[in-house]
Amino acid sequence: MSFPGKTAGEQIHVLERIDLEVAAGEFVCIVGPSGCGKSTLLNIVGGFLQQTRGEALVEGQPVSGPDPRRIFVFQENGVFPWLTVRENIGFGLGQKSAEERDKTVAHYTEMVGLTGFEAAYPRELSGGMRQRVEIARALAASPDIIYMDEPFGALDFITRLKMRSDLIRIWQAEKKTILFVTHDIEEAVQLSDRVLVMSKRPATIQTVIDIDLPRPRDLDSPGYLHKRDAIFQAMGMSVRIGA
């Protein structure tokens, strides 16, 4: 999968030439400072925004709009509040028979740990649980790629750790390709196979860092800290707070 592209958002030149490749089944993170355009990039790739110049190609095909083969997970409010958990998760399964749909929904409900909440409505759930519903909904549609735009950004620290753990577990079971945008450097190191570091506006991929650490990732290991520091350095940041 490769996409070369030049884009500009409004009159602000947000993205310069972006070249990146993601192999099937890989977990790739895009990190960058706030406002660098990483969400814009993901939205273009996902087909929600159109680039002003150049082309966006996914698997050799130009992106013409959102595609059910590539499901987008949003940061907040992506779950439909008028549907139950069960109905949300089964949302993309209209083609299947009722029996198959129920089976698929049950499978993914269990996978994200929401068994027992099938008949609940999103307003009755916590933020973390709502994100689980969204992830289950994305998975249930059997996409080739999952795009995630800071999906844990609205959650508290502890929940975020739990969600990351569960996401990795699910990813290892389902073997999906994931392109994950985050501003959280630690999150990128904890989750991905490769980290693409974006520069400030107009953004390009300034550094690519391979995270060849074993999973489960150990937050104490020197390898982890080394990778994290590499990203800090690439972004011109100090590891000493208050220095």
């Binding site: 996902g46 929600f48 709009g65 959102p66 595609d67 059910p68 590539r70 499901i71 987008f72 949003f74 907040e76 409010n77 992506g78 439909f80 509040p81 008028w82 549907l83 139950t84 949302f91 993309g92 209209g94 609940a120 409505y121 999103p122 307003r123 009755e124 759930l125 916590s126 933020g127 973390g128 649980m129 549609a141 609205a154 959650l155 508290d156 502890i158 929940t159 739990k162």
Partner: protein, 264 residues
């Protein structure tokens, strides 16, 4: 900030919800009675006289007849307004050319009080039921259309994007996502419109027809200065208005729309 535990739900019934208004009512009725007696007014009725007036109307079989007449007109006018206003509002909100074309007319017609339409209504429809129904329709259709338009225009873009992501057709998109997401605001528009409709039916009946609660009030005064019946009619109008509002509020309780209103 949210954590991983689901939010608590509080549910408590207390007698004060019924006793407090009842208490206030008793106080107001007593004050009313005393005020009339003290002022020595011989035309404005006391609560007891109003109650007797009620009894009289019930005995003559008029109360039920008039209530049904008014409700009948409101039902027709309001239903027509829903059938016309909701699709119209949604179309205007969704398609910008339609918005550009039609919105100015809505904004011009909307501020014209339905009362101002009464002479034209009588001209077009005579003194039949159709005239009040027309007036109620006019009064209700604008709040309904406007709230539907606002609902579409204020829709969360996330819902649309998520739905498009799953490759829905236009029809499916509307049925499964656009309409359900707009429903809470539409229902709020219905509530407002129903209140207006009930207001208008009374005014319309005072001028245009020979039955109904509005007619009762104007006729009671004209035919014999029966202010006890006038006030009885007003009380009835108020009570039914309350019931109508409560009925429509029930619509807001459904799970499919409850999410659209903040918890109280």
């Amino acid at each position: 900030m949210s954590d991983d535990t689901p939010p608590q739900r509080a549910a408590r019934f207390s007698w004060s919800v019924i006793l407090m208004p009842l208490g206030v009512a008793v106080i107001l009725l007593t004050a009313w009675h005393i005020a009339v007696k003290v002022s020595g007014h011989d035309i404005f009725p006391t609560p007891l006289e109003v109650l007797r007036g009620f009894g009289e109307l019930v005995q003559q079989g008029l109360l039920l007849k008039y209530i049904v007449a008014s409700l009948f007109r409101v039902s027709w006018g309001f239903s027509l307004a829903v059938v016309v206003g909701v699709p119209l509002g949604l179309l205007i909100g969704w398609f910008s050319p339609v918005f550009s074309a039609l919105n100015p007319f809505i904004q011009i017609l909307r501020p014209i009080s339905p009362i101002a339409w009464i002479p034209i209504a009588i001209l077009w429809f005579g003194r039949e039921d159709t005239a009040p129904v027309f007036l109620i329709f006019l009064a209700s259709v604008f709040p309904i259309a406007v709230s539907a338009t606002a609902a579409v225009q204020n829709m969360q873009p996330v819902y649309l994007r998520a739905a498009q992501n799953f490759g829905l057709s236009k029809g499916q998109l509307f049925r499964r996502v656009i309409f359900p997401s707009c429903l809470p605001q539409i229902i709020t528009g219905l509530r407002i419109a129903l209140g207006i409709a009930w207001l208008v039916v009374v005014a319309a009946e005072m001028i245009a027809v020979d039955s109904g609660l509005g007619y009762l009030i104007i006729d009671a005064r004209n035919a014999g200065k029966r202010y006890d019946l006038v006030v009885a009619g007003m009380v009835m109008i108020g009570l039914i208005g309350l019931v109508l509002d409560l009925v429509i509020r029930r619509l807001e309780r459904f799970d499919e729309v409850r999410w659209g209103y903040s918890n109280r």
